[in-house]
């Protein structure tokens, strides 16, 4: 059952996702289909204008597939995606590019996608040439304004990427996306692999850009401490499903789904006792190609009961604005 049946959704939502699925075929040695990986399976949620929605979970939970499907990199197998009240799930080609301007996807290191043979000016003008009808003077004005917002001096426009530090390249990569004036930005693991001091700088930049450009973020990350700091609401994913969704504070203080509880229990608490001395979730997630019957988490769940093997628990409202997919939540 999709989450929205009991969770009516927000009338003012910027993005409304219903029953979204993305399955990847598993083929044998002859290329014949012998099953599918349900990387994303019946996912529903809303994103409100101006908020940051965190998407957390471990490898294989589907959080990256979700981001890429929303961004149009993967075609959904089923489901609906309403962006600014228009259905975008089936769009491709030119029709999709019109939407793409306002719904941008940022991968791990946006600086790495700069063309090494182009000056920064050319890299920043290019998206505007493709997507807008602005004159060169108008483009230059917008590019300079955005460069200032990401904290780079205008003399950098004539530099090549290799003349910039990694952090500056990242800022140019973000500036490039912002020239198109997006409303919704999907940030896919934006701090993965960064040192903590660099991470602090990057997070601060995301915050100031959000205020400056009135952005809405979907913040995909495996780092729960970062998500707690950055996000208004959080969706916790496990094996292709959202198992819990709600306001960040509520989820971190009072997690309802046993998977969320286990995940939070594994985060080190600096300055406190070792968390690994206490409870630790046993086992590993099953292969997404061979899901267990009923609840997907039951093979590792400390509270699993017979009914968990029989029925897949639907997402249901467990408190104001909070949804959990567990028989006992």
């Amino acid at each position: 059952m999709p989450l929205d049946e009991r969770h009516a959704g927000d009338a003012a939502a910027l993005l409304r996702v219903r029953g979204l699925a993305r399955h990847f075929p598993i083929r044998n040695a002859l290329g014949l289909r012998r099953g599918s990986v349900k990387a994303l399976d019946d996912v529903s949620f809303d994103v409100r204008p101006g908020e940051t929605l965190g998407v957390v979970g471990e490898s294989g939970c589907g959080k990256s597939t979700l981001g890429k499907t929303l961004a149009g990199i993967h075609r959904p197998t089923a489901g609906s995606v309403l962006f600014e009240d228009a259905e975008i799930a089936p769009l491709q080609g030119a029709a999709r590019r019109v939407v793409a301007r306002r719904l941008q996807y940022v991968h791990q290191d946006p600086g790495a996608s700069l063309d090494p043979r182009w000056t920064i000016r050319r890299s920043l003008h290019e998206p505007l040439i493709v997507h807008s009808g602005l004159s060169e003077a108008e483009r230059e004005q917008r590019v300079r304004g955005i460069l200032r917002e990401v904290g780079l001096p205008p003399d950098r426009l004539d530099s090549y990427p290799h003349e910039l530090s990694g952090g500056q390249q990242r800022r140019v990569g973000l500036a490039r996306i912002l020239t198109l004036q997006p409303r919704l930005v999907v940030l896919d693991e934006p701090t993965s692999g960064l040192d903590v001091s660099v991470q602090a700088t990057v997070l601060k930049l995301f915050r100031s850009l959000q205020r400056q450009f009135n952005l809405t973020y979907i913040f995909i990350s495996h780092d729960l401490a970062v998500v707690r700091m950055m996000c208004d609401r959080v969706a916790v994913m496990y094996l292709g499903r959202i198992v819990e969704l709600g306001p960040t504070d509520a989820i971190f203080k009072d997690p309802r789904h046993p998977y969320t509880r286990s995940l939070l229990a594994a985060i080190p608490r600096i300055g406190g006792p070792r968390v690994t001395d206490g409870f630790v979730l046993e086992g590993e997630p099953p292969s997404p190609g061979k899901l267990p019957s009923g609840c997907r988490f039951r093979t590792r769940c400390p509270n699993a009961a017979p009914q968990c093997a029989e029925a897949d628990p639907p997402g249901r409202t467990v408190a104001e604005g909070r949804v959990a997919a567990c028989h006992f939540a």
Binding site: D195, A225, M229, S262, T276
Partner: protein, 339 residues
């Protein structure tokens, strides 16, 4: 070095040749590990933690790395003064073993796990008499039984069947368990673990950290554990040394390190960790280039407390409490605000 210490690195200097010049990757670094202690070596990318770990293992790249001086005293013997053959025959893989960051890259994908485990036991087992070339059946059987027992202790399901599987048949977490077993097999005195849980998910990471700590503590083995992740260091270490741009800044017992850091850099580093209760705090500035590093304390260009002496002289070691040593001219006073 004191008898209670298994490893004492003193004034170790290592430089790397590059096209742009000589990078001063380690600048007269000191590091001490006590017997049975898990010592964390933390710091950001490029701080020199992997170079230090490799120097102890004796696996620095010969064509690029220049050891500019210092000693690596292991159980009373300077490892920089013994030849590469003796190092590989007598020390590395036997008395000092290694757990890598990427276990898949460290297995041979074409041989079963059992073949690779038994290869270690053939040459590095405690049962092997000095100079034995063959592998007598009795020793092989005893070694195999020990390997199976160890796989059971690292919680590999059906350990006997696991020996005949290929590395790719295991998940990332299980491969790291196998690596831990292989590092323990020779019954070493010291294990060097280089970011062994970085690639793992948080729940698997917690399992591996708990397992590793239990196994080494039960056997009295010392560990040098490098990581850039403060949470990981908090979970596994007894003491922590923090490196910045090739200089060690501070060494402290784990609780003091996080609650009462004495070095300005440590305090700023911990402040930059995500904290939901306050705004984001940056250190400001960037990590220096090691080809032409700052004189004196290499943190001084980013340090609010820096004075003239910091720009000219590297601070000496200063003890601020038992087991807590800082190299700073202006150590931070008092406790840090709650983390």
């Amino acid at each position: 070095m004191a008898a209670a210490d298994i490893l004492a690195v003193r004034d170790l200097a290592v430089a790397f040749a590059s096209d742009a010049g000589l990078a001063q990757v380690l600048d007269r670094v000191n590091l001490t590990i006590r017997r049975g202690e898990v010592m964390g070596l933390v710091g950001e990318s490029g701080c020199g933690k992997s170079t230090l770990a490799r120097a102890v293992l004796g696996v620095l790249p010969e064509n690029a790395a220049r050891i500019g001086g210092g000693r690596v005293m292991f159980d009373g013997e300077d490892l920089l003064r013994i030849g590469p053959e003796e190092m590989s025959d007598r020390v590395r893989g036997r008395r000092i073993t290694f757990i890598p960051q990427d276990p898949y890259g460290s297995f041979n994908p074409l041989f079963s796990v059992g073949d690779q485990v038994m290869e270690i036991m053939r040459w590095k087992s405690k049962r092997r008499p000095e100079g034995e070339r063959g592998y007598p059946r009795a020793r092989r059987a005893a070694d195999r039984a020990e390997a199976i027992e160890l796989l059971r202790q690292v919680q590999i399901p059906e350990p006997e069947a696991a020996l005949s599987k290929l590395p790719h048949e295991f998940s990332g977490g299980q491969r790291q368990r196998l690596m831990i077993a292989m590092a323990l097999l020779p019954q070493p005195d010291l294990i060097i673990a280089d970011e062994p849980t970085t690639a793992l998910d948080v729940t698997i990471q917690a399992q591996i950290l708990r397992l590793l700590r239990k196994l080494v503590k039960g056997r009295g083995i010392s560990v040098l554990f490098t990581t850039h992740d403060m949470g990981t260091a908090h979970e596994i270490c007894d003491r922590i040394t923090v490196l910045y741009a090739g200089q060690e800044m501070e060494t402290a017992p784990v609780d003091a390190f996080f609650v009462r850091p004495a070095h300005q850099y440590t305090a700023r580093l911990l402040d930059s960790l995500p904290n939901p209760d306050r705004e984001i705090r940056e250190i400001g500035g960037e990590i220096p280039r090691l080809i032409d590093p700052p004189q004196g304390c290499r943190f001084h260009p980013r340090c609010a407390a820096a004075t003239d002496i910091c720009r000219s002289q590297r601070p000496d070691e200063r003890a601020v409490a038992a087991g807590h040593v800082v190299r700073c001219h202006h150590p931070h006073e008092g406790a840090r605000h709650a983390a």
